[in-house]
C-alpha cells in the first residue's frame, strides 16, 4: 500500500494512518484526509459515472460543490447514497462504493448511451416514446427508470438517531475564511453572543488551502489561533461540520451539524443535528466557488478546478497528478502553477486565454498566451490536452480556472436576485438581503486576502455598532492582496468535441444551443429543458457556464440574460435530520387517559383516536373475536352497569356575569334559560352554518358553566370560543379555560348505575331520581370527601351518569367503581361498545359530524333558534342549505337481518343502475346490534325523513356488496327514551 501521490506537508497528520475501502480495495490515508484527497494520494482517478451517458468521472473539486465524485458510503442499512467524496472524512474501516454503473466502473455497459448522444439530446424524450400509448408504463418508462438516479437506498430503516436543537445569538457568522473569522473576532471581542459556523471539519476556509501569510504567520496558523481564541470565550460557539443550509424569515437559519459522520457507525452519538438558529444579525462570509471553462471533452477524470488542485497540494499534501497543466482566464490560475512547482510537482504548461499578462512564468514552464484547449485524450483518465493550434501537451491533471463566483446562495433564499458585476466577472448579492443579513469578503465580490480581512472587520463592526456595543479599535492583521485580474472567457468555441457544462447531468454547450434553437430561451426554460443546474450541486459548477453560452448565442450580455436564483438547501440535507426524533412510535406524542394503566392491566386493546389512545375493548378469556367482547360489553351495560373512561371529551370551564349570554350566542339552540343544576345538549355551528360540534353544557351556578365538546374538536372549539370572546364580544364578562386535562370523567351507564354510584358517593348527597333527575348536575364528594362532579347524562341511552374527579384520582376512581360494582357484575367497556350503543340510539358522532353536514341534515333543524343572534344561524338559512330534498340522517336496517352492512356504502334505488346520477346518499356508521340481533346503520339519504319504510340498496362497489335496506328512524333502541329517566 503506497500513496503514490502523497508529497508531504499540509494539514494532515502523517503519523496517523487510516485504512479505508473503495470498491472493495483497501487503501491507506491519513487523519485529516477526505475520501477525495486520500483517493488522489493513492492515484485513483476514476470514481464514478455520469448520469445520462455514463461517462467516466473523477474528482473535480475539493469542496461541497463537487458534482462528479459521488459515492455510496458505508454498508447495509447505514448506506448513504450520493455522498461527495470531497467532503467525506475518512476513518478506519470506512467503506465507499462508486455509483451508477452497470458492470464495473471501468467497463460500464450503459456507456453505450454515450454513442447514442446525437439522439439523446436535451429534451429528446419529449419528442418520442409516445406510440403506442400503453407502452409508456410497460416498456419505455421501466427502461428509463432503470437508468435513473445515481445512488441506491438500502430499503431498510435508517438505523441512526438524529436530534433537533435551537440556538440563539446576536450574530451568526457563516463561513470561517479570512472575512468570517475577522467579522466574528471583532464581534466576539465586543462582547456579542456569536456563533461561528463552517461546513468544513477544519475551519479556516481558503486560509487552509493557500500559502498565504496573515499576521506574519502561515495563514492556517492564524486561523487556528483565532479559533482557539474563540474556544476560550464564553460568548462564542464554534460549530465546525455545520452547514447553514437556509435563511428563513426574521433571522432564523437552518443548520445541519454532522456530529458523527466522521467516525464509524455505532459510535453511540447522534448522527446529525438539525439546528434552528435565531439570530439578531448574520454575516454571510461563505467565500466563492471556482468555475470551469467549457471545451472539448473537458469532463475527463483528471480535469479539475485549479484552486482545488492547490488545496490538495497545500492542505492535504497530495499531488493530483504527476504532470499538471493549467488552463486559466485569470491571474489566480497561475498561483496553482507556483504552488505546484514549489512542492516539486511538474507543471507541463500554462494555457491562458488572455493575450497578455504581466505575471512571471514559473521556471521551465511552457506558457501559451491567448491559448485555447480544444480537446483532451484519455479514456478513463486524462493523458493529454490538445491546443487550438493542434499541438498537444502531456498532462494527467488539468487545473482549470475560469474565475471565482461569489457564494451568494443564502442571499437568494428570500428571493433576492443577484446582480452582475463586470469588475469581478460574476454575480454578487443583490440589494435585497434577508432581514439582518450582511455579506462580507469573497461572497460579496471582495476577491483578495487583505481586502477580505478588512471587509470582515467592517461587517463585524457594523453589527457591533448596530447592536449598541462599543467598536474596538483593533485593525486587521498584516496580509497581502494577491493579484487577481479576471477576464470573461467561458467557452472554447472552436472545440469539436462536446464541451461539458454540467458534469453530473451531462449537459453540453450543444444542448444549450439546441434549447435556444427550440425557443427555450429564458434562463428558467433553459434550466428546465436541459436540466442544467438541477444536479446535486444545484448549479454551483454549471449555471454560470450555461448562462454564458446562452448569452453568447443570443448576443446578449450575461447580465441581460439573467440568472435563476438559488433555493434552500445550500447543500443537500438528509431527510432524517429534518425529522429528528419524530419518527416511529415517537412520530407524534400520545395522550393517555387517566385510567390508562388500569386498562392496560385488564389487557385492554387500545385504539388511536386522534392523539389519544383509548381502550377499544376489554377481551376476556375465551373470547376469540373482538365482536364477542364488544357484544358482551354492550349487553352487560344494558342489563346491569358498565363503566367507560370518557375523559377525552373536551371540557371548557366558562365563568362570568355574561356567561349565559355568551353560551347562548355560541350554541345554535336556546340556552338562555337553563336552570342551575341542569345540563343541556348543545349544538354548535360554524359561522357558515354547518355543524361544528356538539356536546352538553352544565350550569353549575349562576355564572358558572361547564361545556363539553367531542374528543376530536376539543382544541378547535376552545379556539373558536376564545375568538368569539376576544375578537367579537370583548366586553362580555366571561372567562374561559380548558379543563380537559384537569378532570378524569367516567361514564357509569346501565340500570344499576345509580346503585353502584350510591355505594361510593358520600351519604349526604341524594342522587335518587327525584333529587337528581335526568340531566341534573352538581358538585358532590365521593369516597369520603373527594370533590367531584356528577352529571346525569347518557350517550348509551341507559340510566347513566358521568362522574368527574380531579385527574389524579381517575385511576383510583376506576378501581373503586370496579370493586364496588362487583355485586352488579360491573363491566368496563371501550370505544367500540360506546359506538354500538350510540348507533343503537341514533346519536351523531364523528362520522356524521364531518364538517359537511347541517343541523337540518342531522335531523336537528328544529332546535336551531331563529330568535337570537348566534354563530351560524344567518348563513345556515342559505337557499341550497334548506332544501327539502336535501340529505337527512336516518336509520337503516338490512331487509335480510342476517346481512351485514358496510359504512361508506352509497344508497341506490332498488333496480336502479349504480352510477353517480342515481346516488342518493351514503352510509356513515354501521354496527351489529346485539340487542336487535341484526346489523344497523346510520346514514344520510335525500329526503330521508319523508321516506320511512322505503327500501333502497346500500351499494359498496369496492367490496362487491349490495344489501337491500329499509329506511328507519335512527333511534333503534328505546326510541321513547324511557330507560333514561328511571
Amino acid at each position: 500500500m503506497t500513496q503514490k501521490n502523497r508529497i508531504g506537508g499540509g494539514l494532515i497528520d502523517q503519523n496517523r494512518s487510516v485504512q479505508f475501502n473503495f470498491d472493495g480495495r483497501l487503501f491507506e490515508g491519513y487523519e485529516g484526509d477526505t475520501l477525495a484527497s486520500a483517493l488522489l494520494a493513492n492515484d485513483v482517478k476514476l470514481v464514478g459515472r455520469s448520469f445520462k451517458y455514463h461517462r467516466p468521472r473523477g474528482i473535480f473539486s475539493a469542496g461541497s460543490e463537487e458534482p462528479s465524485a459521488l459515492v455510496t458510503l458505508r454498508e447495509g442499512a447505514y448506506s448513504e447514497p450520493n455522498a461527495r467524496a470531497t467532503v467525506t472524512e475518512i476513518y478506519d474501516g470506512l467503506s465507499a462504493r462508486s455509483q451508477n454503473k452497470f458492470g464495473s466502473l471501468n467497463f460500464d455497459l450503459m456507456a453505450i448511451n454515450d454513442l447514442l448522444s446525437p439522439l439523446l439530446t436535451a429534451g429528446f424524450y419529449y419528442k418520442t416514446f409516445m406510440w403506442p400509448a400503453v407502452f409508456w408504463e410497460k416498456v419505455y418508462e421501466p427502461i428509463i427508470r432503470q437508468a435513473a438516479g445515481l445512488g441506491k437506498l438500502s430499503g431498510a430503516e435508517d438505523p441512526d438517531r438524529y436530534n433537533k436543537g435551537f440556538l440563539y445569538c446576536d450574530l451568526l457568522v457563516i463561513g470561517t475564511g479570512p472575512s468570517g473569522l475577522m467579522a466574528a473576532l471583532t464581534a466576539a471581542r465586543a462582547g456579542l453572543r456569536v456563533i461561528v459556523a463552517d461546513e468544513d471539519f477544519r475551519m479556516g476556509g481558503r486560509l487552509n488551502a493557500e500559502r498565504y501569510e496573515v499576521g506574519e504567520m502561515p495563514a492556517a496558523d492564524w486561523a487556528a489561533a483565532t479559533l482557539a481564541e474563540f474556544m476560550s470565550m464564553d460568548n462564542v460557539r464554534v460549530m465546525s461540520r455545520t452547514t447553514i443550509f437556509g435563511a428563513y424569515d426574521h433571522g432564523i437559519y437552518g443548520a445541519l451539524e454532522r456530529v458523527s459522520d466522521h467516525v464509524a457507525e455505532g459510535s453511540g452519538d447522534v448522527r446529525q443535528i438539525a439546528w434552528r438558529i435565531y439570530t439578531k444579525r448574520a454575516i454571510l462570509a461563505a467565500g466563492s466557488t471556482e468555475r470551469s471553462i467549457a471545451f472539448g471533452n473537458n469532463d475527463r477524470p483528471g480535469v479539475m478546478m485549479a484552486g482545488s488542485v492547490r488545496a490538495y497540494v497545500n492542505r492535504w499534501g497530495v499531488a493530483p497528478g504527476k504532470r499538471v497543466a493549467i488552463f486559466t482566464n485569470n491571474d489566480d490560475g497561475w498561483q496553482t502553477a507556483y504552488d505546484l512547482q514549489g512542492q516539486g510537482v511538474e507543471v507541463s504548461a500554462i494555457v491562458d486565454s488572455r493575450e497578455q499578462t504581466t505575471l512571471l512564468p514559473p521556471k521551465g514552464v511552457r506558457v501559451v498566451l491567448g491559448g485555447r484547449i480544444v480537446d483532451t485524450k484519455g479514456r478513463l483518465g486524462l493523458k493529454k490536452i490538445i491546443l487550438s493550434d493542434g499541438q498537444d501537451v502531456a498532462a494527467d491533471c488539468l487545473a482549470v480556472s475560469g474565475g471565482w463566483s461569489p457564494n451568494v446562495h443564502l442571499t437568494c433564499h428570500q428571493r433576492g436576485i443577484p446582480v452582475w458585476d463586470d469588475k469581478i466577472v460574476g454575480f454578487v448579492p443583490g440589494a435585497t438581503l434577508p432581514m439582518g443579513m450582511a455579506v462580507a469578503g469573497a461572497a460579496n465580490g471582495v476577491m483578495t486576502l487583505n481586502a477580505c480581512l478588512q471587509s470582515g472587520l467592517d461587517a463585524g463592526n457594523s453589527v457591533v455598532e448596530a447592536l449598541g456595543r462599543t467598536v474596538s479599535k483593533s485593525k486587521t492583521p498584516k496580509a497581502q492582496d494577491e493579484v487577481s485580474a479576471a477576464s470573461a472567457f467561458w467557452y472554447v468555441n472552436e472545440s469539436k468535441g462536446r464541451a461539458w457544462l454540467d458534469l453530473q447531468n451531462d449537459i453540453t454547450a450543444k444542448d444549450v444551443k439546441l434549447s435556444y434553437q427550440e425557443g427555450f430561451r429564458s434562463v428558467e426554460h433553459l434550466k428546465r429543458y436541459t436540466t442544467i443546474g438541477m444536479a446535486t450541486d444545484q448549479g454551483k459548477t454549471s449555471n454560470i457556464l450555461g448562462l454564458a453560452v446562452m448569452a453568447e448565442i443570443s448576443g446578449k450580455s450575461i447580465a441581460e440574460t439573467g440568472t435563476t436564483i438559488f433555493r434552500p438547501p445550500y447543500t443537500p440535507v438528509s431527510i432524517a435530520a429534518l425529522a429528528g426524533r419524530s419518527r416511529g412510535k415517537d412520530f407524534r406524542p400520545a395522550r393517555l387517559t387517566p385510567s390508562h394503566n388500569w386498562a392496560a392491566e385488564q389487557g385492554a386493546v387500545f385504539v388511536n383516536t386522534g392523539a389519544w389512545r383509548r381502550a377499544q375493548w376489554f377481551p376476556k378469556e375465551g373470547e376469540t373475536h373482538w365482536r364477542q367482547s364488544v357484544n358482551r360489553e354492550v349487553l352487560a351495560t344494558r342489563a346491569s352497569v358498565g363503566i367507560c373512561d370518557v375523559s377525552t371529551l373536551g371540557k371548557i370551564d366558562i365563568q362570568g356575569k355574561d356567561a349565559t349570554d355568551f353560551i347562548n350566542r355560541v350554541y345554535a339552540n336556546a340556552f338562555a334559560k337553563l336552570a342551575i343544576g341542569k345540563t343541556r345538549y348543545g349544538l354548535m355551528l360554524r359561522e357558515d352554518g354547518l355543524v361544528m360540534d356538539d356536546g352538553t353544557t352544565a350550569r353549575l351556578s349562576e355564572h358558572h358553566y361547564l361545556m363539553t365538546t367531542t374528543t376530536a374538536n376539543a382544541v378547535s372549539v376552545f379556539r373558536h370560543l376564545e375568538f368569539c370572546h376576544q375578537c367579537l364580544w370583548p366586553n362580555l364578562d366571561v372567562q374561559l379555560i380548558s379543563a380537559t386535562e384537569q378532570f378524569a370523567q367516567i361514564a357509569v351507564a346501565g340500570p344499576n348505575s345509580r346503585k353502584l354510584l350510591e355505594k361510593i358517593i358520600d351519604p349526604e348527597y341524594d342522587i335518587s331520581n327525584d333529587a337528581f333527575a335526568f340531566m341534573a348536575c352538581g358538585d358532590i364528594t365521593v369516597c369520603g370527601g373527594i370533590k367531584s362532579r356528577l352529571f346525569r347524562i347518557s350517550f348509551s341511552g341507559e340510566l347513566a351518569y358521568e362522574i368527574a374527579v380531579p385527574t389524579r384520582y381517575g385511576d383510583s376512581l376506576m378501581r373503586v367503581l370496579m370493586d364496588a360494582g362487583d355485586e352488579f357484575d360491573v363491566t368496563p367497556y371501550g370505544t367500540e361498545a360506546l359506538g354500538v350503543m350510540r348507533i343503537e340510539k341514533g346519536h351523531a358522532a364523528g362520522n356524521e359530524l364531518n364538517g359537511q353536514t347541517t343541523a337540518l341534515n342531522l335531523g336537528l333543524g328544529k332546535i336551531v333558534s331563529r330568535k337570537k343572534d348566534c354563530i351560524g344561524n344567518i348563513l345556515s338559512l342559505r337557499e341550497e342549505m334548506v332544501r327539502n330534498d336535501g340529505l337527512r340522517l336516518v336509520g337503516f336496517k338490512p331487509v335480510d337481518p342476517a346481512m351485514s352492512l358496510n359504512a361508506g356504502s352509497h344508497f341506490i334505488g332498488v333496480g336502479a343502475e349504480a352510477k353517480t346520477s342515481n346516488d342518493q346518499g351514503w352510509m356513515s356508521s354501521v354496527t351489529y346490534s346485539p340487542n336487535l340481533e341484526t346489523s344497523i346503520g346510520l346514514g344520510f339519504i335525500k329526503s330521508g325523513d319523508q321516506r320511512m319504510g322505503e327500501k333502497v340498496r346500500a351499494v359498496d362497489l369496492v367490496n362487491n356488496k349490495s344489501v337491500e335496506v329499509e329506511i328507519t328512524s335512527p333511534h333503534f333502541f328505546d326510541p321513547e327514551g324511557g330507560r333514561l329517566r328511571v
Binding site: 409516445m130 408504463e137 435508517d158
Partner: protein
C-alpha cells in the same frame, strides 16, 4: 414540425440543426376573439382546446413572465381522480381521461405515468371515509380499490408496518393515478396551441382591464392595449391581485405551499403514496428524485417561499411512513403561491362583468386538473355556459350555500 422517432433520427444525423422553436414569438395583435390572461398550464390548455375543440383560434395567451413559470412548473406532478363529491369527481375523472390521451393528442411526450396512487388509512373512521370516497369514484366510472394491510405490505414492503405511531391499516388505490412531467404539460399545450394559430405572448403583463359600462373589452398591457370579445383569467396564485384590477373581491386567499425533491436515487417507490395520519405525499420521478410535499405553510403569502416548520413537519411525516428515506438527502425546496378557496374547490365561471371570465381557486390541486380545467374553461368561453362536469364550480355558490367542500373544513382556506 411533428415529433416522432423518425424526426429524432433524421435530426441526429443532421447534427440536430433542423429543430424549430416549439412555439412562435409573435408580436401582439390589436384584437383577438379571446384573450387568456396567464400562460400557465390552465391558460395554455384553455387556448389549446379553444382552438382544437371549439374552433376559436384568434386567441392570445398573455404571460407576464415565461410560460409555465407558475405552479405548472413547480408542483409534485400528481394526477388522480380520487374525489368524493359529485361536484368534483366527474370533473377530475374527465381530467384523468384527457391525461390518458394527451400526449398523442398534442404530440408531445409529457410522460404521463399511471403507476398508481395509494392513500393509506390508519383508523376505522378513516377507512369508512375512504370506502365512501372509493364508491363515489366507482359510481362515476373511475377505478378505485380498497387494499388491506397485507396487500400494501407486498406492494410497499418499505413502509413502516411494525413500529408506527399510527399503524397502516390499508389503503385506497387508484391504479390509473400517477404522475406527469409537469413542465412538459405547459410546453406541449403551448406548442399545440401555437400550431393551431394561438399567439403566445411572453413578457406581456396585464396592467388593467378595459371595462366600460360593465363590459370588459380587452386589457392594458406593458406591450400596449389589446382588445378582445372575451377575456379569460387563469392566473391561480395571483387571482386576487389580478381580479382586484377589475374591482372584484374573491372567495380566495393566497397561501404558500412548499414542495421538495431529493437527490436522484435508483427506483424505490412504485407510484404515489400518501400518508393518512400526517400530511405527506411522495412519488419518484423518472430522473430518480423523490418528489414530495405536505401542508401549506398556513398564512397568507405572496412571497413564493416558505419556512422551516413545514419543512420539518413534512420530513417527519415522510420518516413516519417510510423510514428508509432517512439517508437520502433533500436537494431542493421551493414555495409557490396558491389560490386557496373558501371550500377547497375551484371556480370556473363568468364574472358579474360581461366578457370577463374566471378560472381560479385551485388550492394546491390544480395540476391534475389542467386538461379538464382548460377544456371546461374553453367550453365556457366558447358557449357561455358551463361544461357539464363543471356545473358546481360557480362563483355564487357561497352565496347560495352550495359549497363543494371535500374536507368539510368550512370557510377557512388554510384548512383545505
Amino acid at each position: 414540425m411533428r415529433y416522432s422517432v423518425l424526426s429524432l433520427l433524421k435530426e441526429a444525423f443532421n447534427g440536430n440543426k433542423g429543430w424549430k422553436p416549439a412555439w412562435r414569438d409573435p408580436e401582439p395583435q390589436a384584437e383577438y376573439d379571446v384573450i387568456i390572461v396567464g400562460g400557465g398550464g390552465h391558460g395554455l390548455a384553455t387556448a389549446y382546446y379553444l382552438a382544437r375543440e371549439f374552433g376559436i383560434n384568434r386567441v392570445a395567451v398573455l404571460e407576464k413572465g415565461w410560460i409555465g413559470s407558475g405552479n405548472v412548473g413547480r408542483n409534485t406532478t400528481i394526477i388522480r381522480s380520487n374525489y368524493l363529491l359529485d361536484g368534483n369527481q366527474p370533473f377530475y375523472e374527465q381530467s384523468l381521461k384527457l391525461w390518458e390521451g394527451l400526449e398523442q393528442d398534442f404530440n408531445y411526450n409529457a410522460m404521463v405515468s399511471q403507476r398508481g396512487i395509494i392513500n393509506l388509512y390508519h383508523s376505522d373512521p378513516q377507512r369508512d371515509a375512504f370506502v365512501r370516497r372509493a364508491n363515489s369514484m366507482r359510481l362515476s366510472g373511475a377505478d378505485a380499490e380498497i387494499l388491506n394491510q397485507n396487500t400494501i405490505r407486498e406492494m410497499c414492503p418499505f413502509l413502516d408496518f411494525d413500529n408506527a405511531r399510527f399503524p397502516i391499516q390499508g389503503g385506497l388505490i387508484q391504479r390509473r393515478g400517477g404522475t406527469v412531467r409537469h413542465d412538459a404539460v405547459a410546453w406541449g399545450y403551448a406548442r399545440g396551441a401555437d400550431q393551431r394559430g394561438v399567439d403566445i405572448l411572453q413578457n406581456c403583463e396585464v396592467t388593467d382591464f378595459i371595462i366600460e359600462n360593465g363590459v370588459c373589452s380587452g386589457v392594458e398591457t406593458n406591450r400596449g392595449s389589446i382588445r378582445a370579445n372575451k377575456v379569460g383569467v387563469a392566473v391561480a396564485g395571483s387571482s386576487g391581485r389580478v381580479m382586484a384590477q377589475a374591482g372584484m373581491r374573491l372567495p380566495i386567499e393566497t397561501h404558500v405551499l412548499q414542495a421538495f425533491v431529493s437527490e436522484g436515487l435508483k427506483p424505490v417507490l412504485p407510484g404515489v403514496i400518501t400518508f393518512g395520519a400526517g400530511h405527506f405525499y411522495v412519488s419518484q420521478s423518472d430522473k430518480g428524485g423523490l418528489v414530495f410535499g405536505g401542508d401549506i405553510d398556513g398564512y397568507n403569502s405572496y412571497a413564493q417561499r416558505g419556512n422551516l416548520p413545514v419543512v420539518e413537519d413534512v420530513c417527519e411525516s415522510g420518516m413516519a411512513i417510510m423510514p428508509m428515506i432517512g439517508r437520502s438527502k433533500l436537494l431542493r425546496m421551493w414555495g409557490g403561491v396558491m389560490d386557496m378557496s373558501m371550500d377547497g374547490s375551484p371556480i370556473i365561471d363568468k364574472t358579474p362583468i360581461d366578457g370577463l371570465y374566471l378560472n381560479a381557486g385551485w388550492c394546491y390541486g390544480g395540476f391534475k386538473a389542467t386538461p379538464a380545467s382548460g377544456w371546461c374553461f374553453a367550453h365556457l368561453l366558447a358557449k357561455d355556459e358551463p361544461h357539464k362536469t363543471a356545473t358546481k364550480y360557480r362563483l355564487d355558490r357561497f352565496k347560495r350555500g352550495a359549497m363543494v367542500d371535500e374536507r368539510g373544513a368550512g370557510a377557512q382556506p388554510n384548512l383545505h
